[in-house]
Symmetry: D3
Subunit: 220 residues, 6 copies
């Protein structure tokens, strides 16, 4: 199951459609929006508004699903969700960064506006990956997360100016643009949601989940 931490039904539908293409019927996957959340996650306040809805989604669906993906490039409330369920939980930022680091020397995470760069940097640092990749924004920014050309331009800069060898499409809403951009850019372009699926379906098939002995121990 994929949790879209915002309440945007259109983005939820895009994600659903795209993951089904990846799944090819081999496994079942359902993407749900978060009730009470903002339409777009762009601040710590937005993240806080997703807390109650995300917990409810997990509590309600824990028995029916084998694992959870948090489909937002900020990995909102990831530690929390890892803690409250025994099922595997994967954030798309964490999954895409770790996969990217196995595919090339340095990755760039494309950001839509300058506003999100420090927050993404804090996330990269959280995963101990500040030597392996960076957040990239162009001067003008990206007006819309489906604007292929502006994403291309930002990624191009990251490759030519900063030595990026792998591109991560940060925002879950960019899902599906990966293959087109990869052809144009000549480097691997990763869709975070698919990266999340790779990890979570692998964990499910393997039968392992979050360690419950320490940092993510169930309360009570």
């Amino acid at each position: 199951m994929i949790i879209n931490p915002n309440s945007d039904l259109e983005m939820t539908a895009i994600i659903q459609s795209n993951v089904e293409k990846y799944a090819k019927g081999e496994f079942e996957v359902v993407c749900k929006a978060t009730l009470g959340a903002s339409k777009f996650i762009g601040s710590y306040e937005d993240i806080s508004k997703s807390v109650t809805g995300m917990k409810e989604l997990v509590y309600k669906n824990e028995k029916d699903f084998d694992g959870f993906i948090i489909a937002c490039g900020a990995d909102p409330n990831l530690d929390l969700i890892k803690e409250i369920t025994v099922k595997p939980v994967v954030g798309i930022a964490e999954a895409s960064m770790k996969i990217a680091s196995m595919l090339g020397h340095r990755f760039a995470i494309i950001q839509t506006t300058k506003r999100f760069v420090p927050n993404k940097e804090a996330l990269i640092y959280k995963y101990h990956m500040e030597g392996l990749g960076f957040a990239k924004v162009s001067k003008k920014g990206i007006s819309n997360y489906r604007n292929e050309e502006e994403i291309f331009n930002t990624a191009k800069l990251a490759i030519e100016e900063d030595g990026a060898e792998v591109i991560i499409l940060s925002c879950a809403g960019m899902t599906g643009l990966d293959r087109i951009l990869e052809k144009k850019l000549g480097v691997p372009v990763l869709d975070g949601v698919i990266c999340g699926l790779i990890i979570v379906t692998g964990l499910i098939k393997y039968g392992v989940s979050t360690s419950k002995i320490g940092r993510f121990k169930l309360r009570r």
Copy 2:
């Protein structure tokens, strides 16, 4: 104003009484518990239960107070609170670690149980201070956060075995035990709440607050 992120009124009263001793009437300080929160913050789930109540405390009191302290050793929801108000906000873990690092080569944060060590380590790392201090728990742990003797024994170990030169009383509930323990241990012992007060009253007097240009920009 001091936000106690849990709902324990007894702990709130202890904190209130202790900060008044420090204030000596020179400034006004009020400690409030968080409605709807757990009685004790011991997990990411507990932290998530404090979100709504803490936001409400800030929204309601922003006009009447000059700054906020989050009085819990986990610095719960600190980034969020820094973002949603223009008044200065200080977490007691962050404040005490930064002050401790100016007083000696290495600090130890006393933990009551092994369960909280990885979470505190993640916090130390977040503040880029993993080379400057560490979380310490004794084998038996500390049965009660007011148990002076057990805190003393854990601190003693941190000094003798791990080279701690400064002790931080992690939990806001330990407030007031600092001076007694300092005499016995022979090293500075820091109460996080007082450290928070040092920083927040200084910032208020100086007239500076959180930067609103990037990571903690107000939404909308």
Copy 3:
């Protein structure tokens, strides 16, 4: 295809049998030993003896297979193999560390003898993960990589003394012991070869591979 960088046919057979159990017929996987290599990879000299055989295995099989796993806990010649083929290549040490870091606060890689600890530490450092996990050996070491009890004892120490929350079975030869040990230890126990399969099958299904623009560019 799985490359066993040593020439031990028995270990190769154990790996083959174990990965087939994981694959459940959903995909084809073949494990081959490396001609001219040592029977066990325990030094840089052993790694150097695998170079020629590993390159040949890749050149010969590149057309017939969709991706490669290097099945040795030292990730021998991983950068080289990533460079010489356009197909995805995964080392079991890298894959298991990155997956482990998503499942708990700290992982321990079980080593059979003290001799391999510095080399494994160098590998952990190479992947920027020295803050996330460590190599662990018991005082007596482990006499044989199939000795379940001795592996259990070493893992137990790593959990109790060093705060490990996830265990990695470093050596490809330990494959298959993961589920038994997980039950006894109460924390996730990862078989590097399966972790490699999770990543490489995911990458194949997704259709991405190593970036060929910089560090791993094909040499004419």
Copy 4:
């Protein structure tokens, strides 16, 4: 008491006047220049010339004052002064960096010339803060440490090009320009001397000082 490690009486007077404004008569503060020191601290040699005079200032005034601030952006001889007195000692670079790191994602320390950048970088590194802030100089440099416009331009660049969210006025001589620049720049601007006062008056009120058990132990 504030130690100006150079012998410039004019700068000493500016500092004295500015801290009195901050103190508002609530506490007594005296700034003294260092006999035998250079007029400006711009090299390790200058720092070495301050050693004797600074020690004498501490020995003579230890009984009459409750704490010391070293008012130079290079924190000259800070470890030494922390060691030789039992009273709290604060360097303005250390204090301002630690406060800045609580107010925003990244700080910039404004430098007057390129010459001082590597030395400031070494200082930032010493305090484990190279991931949290950086030294900034403009191409032309700043001709005079009271030149408000040139300081503004350098700070502006640091914000726009390098993502600084907080500005530190490195040099004690820049004291008093903070509020004007803050209004123009729209981010917190910190005067190191005031930051030092916040910490040292807090420590004095709290009754804690440098740990005397290890690195800063008194040499009989």
Copy 5:
């Protein structure tokens, strides 16, 4: 003895001639090319082609020489050679970076093409020196490793734009250009081969060699 890991006899002759100038007859030094190696080391594949020839050079010459230098800026197979001989072994990249770090705040290693920058960055990281120096390439690159003017231009940029205080001539083929460039640039310019000689002749005279107790223990 100096091992040139490539098979280029011309470069071998240049190195031989240059080290003899440094030796001034005070010690004997012989530079040999590696049989079966590529003419230029520019990839992991090239490094792998040098393995067999380099091992043979060491096995054959171990009795007749007191120590080994690996004369290629990629330090190819350095861990391996350190392991297989009891004589001291020095890589020119490692030696030059460690010497450079004692001569100035930050060093730049001049690269001929963009292609080698990520590989050199990985090497700098391996030696824990990413905070002390960096790899530098100009936009156009350097057409030929003996092209003094292009090397000068790249070094100039590293000094003016990135704050380099010491220049390392990465490629063994650049040997001998150091003194001319030093005069023009006004900063120390280090020839890696000479740096290797400083260390290895010092170790020989002193009588110490690689530790054989752990990471570089002789196999068998």
Copy 6:
């Protein structure tokens, strides 16, 4: 020329006698004690007492000597001396750590008392080497820096408990004990003074010195 930063003539004579053995008449070397310094460097105050005398030694002898070694394990006033002379300057701690890091996976610097451990740790950190080595003291400490047996016991612990592969005799006074201890311990044992000589004589022969363009620029 070797500067002994303390005023102990006996230690000076031991150093002089030992370096002459190493020099074997191939170069001239003179060790001088520092006037006005403490008899032993054990604190920042001691370091400050050496400042004037060390500067005078350099000013007086700069014309007659080709380079300087600072012969104390604390590298006292090293940045200062690097700045004030154009001749090469080497600290024995820096030189021995950098050489040690080329000889094995991890080094231990033997300390005589617990008191000096934090200060040495700060020095190791200064040189970016905290991942490569550590300061080691035994429980009882070492009563006298010429006590071979106690040094042996501390080194033994560092090897067996902490994985040290190379031993550094921190204190210049331990000079000459290296070869005896190396035989007993079975790992390289480095005398800092000899390491300093390796580097400084190499630099002199090569004709390079400290970069004068930035951090260590001469102050008019």
